[in-house]
Amino acid sequence: MRLKILKRGHRLLQKVQIFFISKMMGYTPGPIAVLSYRRNFFGKHYNPWLDHALRGAKHWSVGEIELFGTFVSKQNQCQYCTNDHHTMAKMSLGKEMADAVLDDFEQSTLEDRIKVVLRFLQKLTLQPHLIEEADFLPMRAQDISKEAIEEVMHVCGVFCVINRLADAFDFTMSPDTEKVARFLLKNGYAMSSLKG
């Protein structure tokens, strides 16, 4: 972590909670440190968006959402987020599907409805200025509803935020991604910004 305030600047009750989380997870997860520090400035408001995007989707499974999150993180070359969310996608969907988004997904056995979303997410992540109506049409042709497309754009949005924060602040890599993944698959993201 590049800023001392993100290691030692939390309020007393937050420090107590962070102590127990660190004991349980073997490290302090960067997102919790950032979303909890002066939470009225950022974490209190970003956390509901994060939870809505990753656990509020009605048209995609949790595994598919984690797969999309892994893919956006990989496009942004964020190792921290790619590792953790790839593990969640792997636990939910199996190794073959999860690994497909780390390599050339076009050559993979992923369903066409997933591939069209990945193409869209790739462009929205890396070339957002070139996004146009035509980029949405392959998804609509696969009978993906407008609501379902909005859900994947939420995933792109929240990861384009947290990927940058992970790399800028230099989050410590998770020592045990499976433990992190099990925790997040069971509990979700609603408690990422600690009160105190």
């Binding site: 949405f136 407008k146 949005g157 800028a168």
Partner: protein, 103 residues
Amino acid sequence: MIQALKQAVLGKGHSDPELRQQVYEKVSDQVLTGDTTPIIAPALNSYIDKLSKHAYKILDRDFEALQAEGYSEDEIFELTIVGATAAGVTRFEKGLSILQKLK
């Protein structure tokens, strides 16, 4: 939800609100047009460029350069949050504006 986030990161803080607005607009411009307008402060301009385009290239020395220009840790925290928020929110908003027009 997203509007509340934008208002919070551009509202009350330790850093100059005008500077935060400039950072937000710079990153938003990059998302919308692929181009950016420079911010007056050179070290901050270079840092926000990296944050916007390839955050994985940010190094300790980028933070050291900001601190050498007098930015406090809380100011760096806020300006980073603002830039990252602009990157995510503007992508979502641009996509949504096209999606809403689709039949």
